[in-house]
C-alpha cells in the first residue's frame, strides 16, 4: 500500500523489448507527480520478462507481482487495482511509450472536475479509436511523418490542461478514479476475462451513475497497437463487440454520434497549431496563399471588388499535408479564428501572395480588431 497519488499498473505478457522500452520511457519522462510502477507478470513464457522484473524488484518506485498462472488482462489489471489501495490506478499497456509531463496532465484533468471517472490521453493514428491524432479515423498509415515525441511536446504546449468529454475511455493508457471504482466496482472479470472492452464497460457503467470520462488533450502517448494479442485478436474483438452490445445497447448510437460530432477535432487542430509553432522556431512571419471563387488556385491577382463581394480563402502553403487539421481560413467569417490561431502560434505578420490593390481590402478583412500586420509578398520573390 502506498500513499502516492498514482499507481501505474503495467500488466505484462511476453514482448520483453516493448516492455523494457515502455518502462524506460516512464522512468525517463520528466513528471512532477509522484507515482509508483506496478509490474504484473501474467505468467509470461519468455525468460527475459522474469529477468526484467528481477532488475526492478529492489527499487522503491516499483512493485513487482508475478501471477502463478495466466489470468488474462482484466484479472491481472484488477490485481493491480486492488494492490493500489487508495491510489488512483493508471492502466498502461506494455506496448506504449510516454513522454515528458504525461502524468501531470492526466492527473490534472482527473482533478479538474468533481466526478471524473477516467482520463484517456491522445494517441497516434493507430493507437486509440477515440483520441487519435492527426486523423479522426484509425488507420495503419499516418497522414504525417513526424516523430511522436514532437507531437507530444506540441500537445503539451498547445493543449495543456484541456479536458474534452468522451463517452468512454480507451484502455491502452487509462487513469481511473479510485472513488469511482468504489462506487461501480472494478473491471468486469466475468464478461470480459481476456481484455478488450473491459475498460469501456467500466466507463459506461460509471457514466450511468453520472460520472464523466475525459480525454487529456495535452498528453500524447504512443501506442504500438495490435501487438498485444497477436493472431487471437480478431476473434477476441468479435466476441467482445457482441458481448458489449448486449450489455450496452446504446453503444452503436453513442459511437455514431461521437463520429458525427467529432468533439476531438478542436484538440487535433490545437495540436497542429502547436506543431506549427515548433516548426516556425521563433519566426514571426507566415506565408499564405489567397484565393476565392473568382480567382481560384492561388492566382496572384485579386481585384478589390472580388475581395469585397466573394470574400477570400487563406491557405498556408502545403498545410494539408503537414498540418491536416488546420485547413483554410475563409474570410471574413474566420477572421477572429485566424487572429486567435496566429496568437497561439506567435505570428505577428502575415505575408500574402497578392497585388497591392487587393491588399488594402484584404487587410481590412483580416486585421479588424487584431494586431496582425498584413504584407504582400515581395515582387521579386513571387513564384
Amino acid at each position: 500500500m502506498s500513499n502516492c497519488p498514482v499507481w501505474i499498473i503495467i500488466p505484462i505478457y511476453n514482448q520483453s523489448a516493448l516492455v523494457e522500452q515502455c518502462v524506460e520511457s516512464v522512468l525517463t519522462a520528466n513528471v512532477e507527480t509522484e507515482y509508483k510502477v506496478c509490474l504484473i507478470d501474467d505468467a509470461s513464457t519468455e525468460p527475459e520478462i522474469s529477468a526484467l522484473l528481477d532488475r526492478f524488484e529492489g527499487d522503491a518506485r516499483f512493485e513487482c507481482i508475478r501471477n502463478s498462472e495466466n489470468l488474462g488482462f482484466t484479472r491481472t489489471a484488477n490485481i493491480g487495482i486492488r494492490q493500489a489501495g487508495r491510489s488512483n490506478p493508471l492502466l498502461l499497456n506494455s506496448d506504449t511509450i510516454v513522454y515528458d509531463h504525461w502524468l501531470d496532465e492526466l492527473v490534472g484533468i482527473l482533478g479538474s472536475e468533481p466526478k471524473v471517472s477516467s482520463v484517456t490521453p491522445m494517441s497516434n493514428q493507430w493507437g486509440s479509436h477515440l483520441t487519435c491524432y492527426p486523423d479522426a479515423k484509425m488507420s495503419d498509415v499516418s497522414l504525417i511523418d513526424v516523430p511522436d515525441e514532437n507531437i507530444a511536446r506540441a500537445a503539451y504546449d498547445a493543449c495543456g490542461g484541456v479536458g474534452t468529454a468522451i463517452h468512454a475511455g480507451v484502455g491502452f493508457c487509462l487513469l481511473l478514479n479510485r472513488q469511482c471504482i468504489d462506487e461501480v466496482g472494478q473491471l468486469d472479470e466475468i464478461n470480459f476475462p481476456r481484455g478488450y472492452g473491459e475498460e469501456a464497460d467500466f466507463c459506461y457503467r460509471a457514466s450511468y451513475l453520472g460520472w464523466r470520462n475525459l480525454a487529456a488533450a495535452g498528453c500524447f502517448v504512443t501506442h504500438l497497437h495490435g501487438k498485444s494479442f497477436g493472431s487471437e485478436k480478431a476473434l477476441l474483438m468479435e466476441t467482445m463487440i457482441s458481448n458489449f452490445r448486449s450489455l450496452h445497447p446504446s453503444q452503436p448510437a453513442l459511437d455514431l454520434s461521437f463520429q458525427e460530432r467529432d468533439p476531438m477535432r478542436h484538440v487535433r487542430r490545437r495540436i497542429d497549431l502547436g506543431r506549427l509553432k515548433q516548426d516556425l522556431s521563433g519566426s514571426s512571419e507566415l506565408l499564405f496563399l489567397a484565393s476565392n471563387q473568382e480567382q481560384p488556385s492561388g492566382a496572384p491577382f485579386l481585384s478589390a471588388e472580388n475581395i469585397s463581394s466573394k470574400g477570400v480563402e487563406l491557405r498556408m502553403i502545403s498545410a494539408t499535408t503537414v498540418y491536416p487539421n488546420i485547413g483554410t481560413y475563409s474570410l471574413p467569417i474566420d477572421a477572429a479564428l485566424l487572429a486567435n490561431d496566429m496568437k497561439i502560434v506567435g505570428i505577428k505578420r502575415l505575408v500574402i501572395d497578392c497585388d497591392t490593390q487587393g491588399l488594402i481590402d484584404l487587410r481590412n478583412l483580416i486585421a479588424v480588431g487584431s494586431e496582425l500586420e498584413v504584407r504582400t509578398k515581395e515582387k521579386g520573390n513571387r513564384q
Binding site: 484488477n78 486492488r82 462506487e183 461501480v184 466496482g185 472494478q186 457503467r205 450511468y208 451513475l209 450489455l247
Partner: protein, 674 residues
Amino acid sequence: MNIQAVMMVRNEIDIISASLTEKLGLFDRLLVADMQSTDGTREVVDAYADATKRVDVYNFPYLARQQAECLSCLSKIAFKSHADWVFFLDADEFLKVENRADLESYLLNCGSQIVHLPWINLIPTEYGTFSDFDIDQEFSWTGRLSTYSKVAVSGHYYLSNPDFVLEAGNHNVRRNLSCARPEDVELGFPLYHVPIRSVERIKYKAANSLVVDSGKHNRRTDEAGHLTNLHEILGANEVTPELLNGMCMDYGEKAKIAPVDPKKLDWPSAKLAIPATEIPKLTISPLNALGLREKDKSKSWRSVNQPLNATVGAMVDNGELILLPQSVRGNGGLGPLRFPRLAPGYVDPGVSFDEKAILKALCSSLIRPPFNVFSAWTDLVPALGMIFSTMRPRRFVELGTHNGMSFFSACQFSEFLKTNTQCIAVDSWEGDPHAGTHSPEVFTNFQSNLRSRFPSQIYLRTFFQEAAHAFDEGSIDLIHIDGFHSYEAVRSDFETWLPKMSDRGVMIFHDTNVHRNDFGVWQFWEEVTKSFPSIELKHGHGLGILYVGKENSDVSEVFEYFRTKPDYQTFLKTFLEAQIEAIRIEKANPSNHVNGITAERDRITAERDRITAERDRITAERDKLSKLLVERTEALNMIATDKWWRRTRHFRRWSNSIRKLRGRPKKKWPGPVL
C-alpha cells in the same frame, strides 16, 4: 414542487416500515394499493397514514396482476391533485438520492418529461427471516445497472398525454393504447432494489405469482417469467445464501443463475440511508409462509372475467380499487370508465312525430354509408338509418360487433344526421359458434377502420356481462343485441341490459327471422313482443325493434303511431324491402357507383400523369436539340469566317477535281465552299 409516489404492496411486513419511512422523507404524498395483505402490512400502512396524513391506502381485492392499470388509475388521482412528478415504485425499491433537496434538484434539471430509474439489485450480506430483515446492513452489487428500469412521469407529460398508459411491470409508459411503441428510455438516477430478503419470503412470492398470473387477462407470454423461473430453481436446489446472491445479482433477467460470493469478487458495496422515524413500530405476531397462505385464502377475493387481451381499467370506489373493462376511442385514447345516466324526459326539440318526420326517415333510409363492410347486416342498413333519424339516440350500444358493418353504419348515421350519438361497440372479438371463431385480423381491421374514420367513437373489448358493469342505469337510448343467438343467451342479454335502458330506450334484435340450428331469437322475440311495443322487419334475417322505455315519451309516440296505422307500417316495410334489390345491384355492379367513379378518376389521373411526363420529356428533348443547333451553327460560322479556311479553298477544290477524275462523288465540306 409536488412529488408523489404510487405503489402496490402485498404482504411485505419485513420491509414496509423502512420503505414508507424512506418514501415519506422524499415524497409529498404516497398512494398505496394494498392487495389485501394479511401479514400486518396493511396495519403498518394505516399507522403511517394516521400519523402523517400523507398516505392514502386503497384496498385491491383481486387476485390478478393488473398492477399497471391500478397504478395508472392512482397516478391520475395524483396528477389531478397537482403532482409535478409521480413515481411508480414497489416496497422493495429505494431511491438513490441523498435527500429531498437532491431529488428536487435532479428533477428540475433533468429536462425530460419521463425519467427511467434503473435498478441496482442489492445483495444482502445477511439474509433475514420471513418477517424480519435488517435494512441497515451493508449490501453489495455487481457494479452493473440492471437492464430493467422503473418509470417516473412528470405532470407535463400527463398534461400533453392524459391518456398515457403504464406498461406492465411499471417499466415504461406509452402515449395511449394504440401507440405501439413505448417511450424511449433515458436513464435517470438508479433505484436500490432489494428483491430477495429471505428464503421463505422469495419462495412465498414466487408461489403467489403463479396464482396471481393466472388471473391476468392482458398477459404477454414473457411476462413475470423470472418469478416462474425462480420458483423452479428454488424447488430444485438446496437454497444456499450464495444461490440467493446469484438470484439477486441480475434479478428479473433470465440469465442462468449460479451461486455467487460477492466478497470474493470485490464487488462495490452500498448502504441504504433510511432516516429515523417517529412512528412507533407495531408489534405483529410473526407468521410463516404456510400460515400466511392459509390466511390469504380466508380473504374474500373478487374475480374478473375478461377475454384475452382485454383492456382493463381501474377506478376508486369507496376506498377500493375496482377493475372495469376500459373503453377505448378509435384514436387510441381512453374512453370513459363509466357511462353515466342520461337525462330523463329528454325530447329532441327538432323532432315531433308526424308525416314530415316519416318523410325525413324515408329519406334517411336512402343514405348509403360509403364506408361499407359487407355482411349479413347490409340489407338492414336503411332500417337503421330510419331508426336514427326517428329517435335521434344519444347513446348507441352494440353487443356483438364482429367486423362492424352495423356499427360503422350507426357511426355514419350519427355523423350524417348530426345526432351526436355516442356509439359504443362491445365485443370480445373471440367469436362464437354462430359467427365462427374470429381470426385476430377481424379485430385489428375493425380497430384500424375505426381509427381512420371515427376516431372519437368507442369500443369495449370484453364480455357482455363485464361490459354491463360500465353502464349506469338508464344510460342507453338504443341498443343493438347481436351476440350469441341461442334463446338463453338472448334472454340473458335482454335481462342484463334492460335496466341500463333510458326512459326512451329502444332495443333492436338481429336474426329474429332465422329458424335453423339452435338460433332462438325468434322464440324470444315472440315472447317479448307480448309485453313491449314492437315492430319487426322480416328481411335481412329479421330485425326486431322493441320499445322498452316509459309511456308518453317522444319515442313511444312513434310506436303508437305505427300501431294505430298498420297501413303505414306495411308501406314502410315494403319500402325498406324494395331497397334490398337496389343494394344488391350496387354491390354486384360497383362500376355504376362510387367504385366505378373512383376507378375512372384513377384512370384519368394516371393518363394525365403519363401525358405530363411525356410532355416534359419532349420539352427537354427540344431544348437539348435547339441548344445543339445553336452550338453547331456557331461552329459553322466560325469555320466560314476563319482566315485559313478561306485560304485553303483551292485545296478543297483540287481535291474534288481529283475525286471527280477518280470517279468518286464530290465531297461536301462543312460551311460554305468558297
